[in-house]
Symmetry: none
Subunit: 207 residues, 4 copies
């Protein structure tokens, strides 16, 4: 009994994981149920058994990547290190997450192509929203009181700026690499970009 349930959950999890990859790589329309089934070492039938439709599978995949990001963000502590250090750590964390989780970028881009249709309808939407913006606000407050950050910075805008600098660079790495004629993911270029980006964020909140 327990074994079967565990198997069932394992199969479901394998399918979901494969779906995340498939949708991230090929978008919604380009995703193939058969590839998902094969990658999950299961059958196309099971995909429909657990997720009812291609759309249902996509919704689950999308929720899954948002939940993973939120879980990862929930481990971040912004209240311990010195404010500017904490801010830099957070930037590095966010960018590293994007770098290590291309499936997040792929799924979010796909969802934007669909005008966030699935996300808006998700009953889990509230749970998926990360509390990290609030923590950034507290950090800005602390930095101000420590005399190392200026007043008047909107935490949400700060978050967007940090996200922008990492997301855009990685999401568009292929066209940018082609157009600029250099491999943006080569360690040297990546380092240089993070350095410039950190500097930008620091200067943005500096006095």
């Amino acid at each position: 009994m327990t074994t079967r349930v565990r198997d069932a959950q394992a199969t479901r999890a394998r399918i979901l994981k494969a779906a995340v990859r498939e949708f991230a790589r090929h978008g919604f329309s380009g995703a193939r149920g058969e590839r998902v089934a094969r990658a999950a070492r299961s059958s196309e039938r099971m995909v429909y058994y657990y997720f009812a439709s291609k759309e249902g599978l996509f919704r689950a995949a999308l929720e899954s990547v948002y939940a993973s990001l939120r879980d990862a963000e929930s481990t971040v502590r912004l209240d311990e290190a010195e404010p500017l250090e904490a801010l830099e750590s957070f930037c590095r964390f966010v960018w590293d997450y994007y770098l290590k989780h291309p499936e997040f970028i792929g799924l979010v881009n796909t969802e934007n192509l669909h005008q966030a249709r699935h996300l808006r309808r998700s009953p889990q939407l509230d749970e998926l929203v990360s509390p990290v913006v609030g923590q950034l606000g507290a950090l800005l407050e602390r930095g101000q009181q420590a005399g190392v950050m200026r007043a008047g910075v909107d935490p949400a805008q700060l978050y967007l700026a940090i996200a922008s600098l990492g997301y855009f660079y990685l999401s568009n790495q292929h066209t940018l690499s082609a157009v600029l004629g250099r491999d943006l993911l080569a360690p040297g270029h990546l380092q240089a970009h993070w350095l410039a980006a950190v500097q930008m964020i620091r200067r943005f909140v500096a006095l």
Copy 2:
């Protein structure tokens, strides 16, 4: 005869325009030849007549949006106004272009999903690259000499930063609006974002 040729070119142009919209809205796999044909008031057969395949049509659409951006950027003058003013104008120009041309964002995102496969193979690639990064370099030089900009800023990185702050915000407007619970395209929020972004860019190049 001339009329016929002009008609032929006009048909081709209508198909191309319709294809740009279609690919931008639905991605490559989601795009439908029939919708392109209908929107162009032509037939599916004509699409193949002029562009040989769906891939050929996408390539042409992609080249078309890059060419349009390059043409627009070629009208920009960065050597006339006071350096910091010129920089801000350029930011506003770029962001306004993204705002007014969602099809550019849509096609570029789609091309990145495909790892820039089409762009890399395009024989027109060099022609599509905008000379604007060079102009930004000259502007930085001028700003330095005028004593209002610091040394050591990579023009390409500056360009990426400007692009990031506009592109990310617009490309991800739907998911961000859903997650943050506010309409990012509402005039107030848009203004506030551009303001913060300009400030960020200015502080980045400032002494």
Copy 3:
């Protein structure tokens, strides 16, 4: 224990009743096990538990509607009233039964589509045949002796004629209503039809 058995039988009965409706409404191929299960407030699995297969369920449903008709017909008395009155009463009874039991018509039509495959194989076939034809024969005899009916009327043919006039009208009510441009089930039209039909039957057996 008794309760459990009664519950089991109740579940079986609910499934059977739901199946009768489902097959009558959608035919054999169009019937859905899931709808039967839901309508019976049971599970698809239980349907198979009690009836083994879709075909088994259909057979049971078919036998059930024939048994119901036979039970209803068994209450009819043709030997009491004045012969022509009794005949008219019988017509009214048959037609009223068809009217009130559309599921009978639906299942019988479906079974005919399948060339009575299930009925012919039913071991209960003999039990399902109504003794009403025999009673009609006796009635004809009585009418003859009373000098109000002619000789030479085949009771089976009389039965078929009565059935025809009701069954055809109700079974084909939808196409006929569409073609004739009037609602055949509207009280006025229904009354008029029964009246004409009764007259037809009376004139058929009259001297």
Copy 4:
């Protein structure tokens, strides 16, 4: 060119003919696109090319059998022979049509299962309605004036009665044969039935 067009029409016609058979034999849900394609010596793809969907194919099949009946009925002359003779001829014609065109009965039954959904939506509905009821009215008039038919017979009801007696017998031949224990289509029984039916109709309109 002409050849191709003829081929195209021939293919379409073969598919339609095969569809009529398939739907008549198996109902809507039971009908298989693949069987239609095979019987028409064509491909399943062509079925969709010409008829867009299973529903479109059914609609076309249904309209086709109604059109065939109307065409056949349009050849009938009710104004030449002696009134009662003409009426009997008409009965024989109708019943013979049902007998020779089981696909008509099959499709009409299927359409009634679907509550005439397709027929009601058919833009050709008016064209499909046979003018034969009007002709029956004229015949009744003529019979009256000739002093061989009574007044007060509704031509539509007469038509329904004639149709009932043939349609019911043939449509339900399989269940009736099983229940009555005799083959209703055996020449002897068929003859006897037509005889009784003609008598019934004659007596119905007689003085």
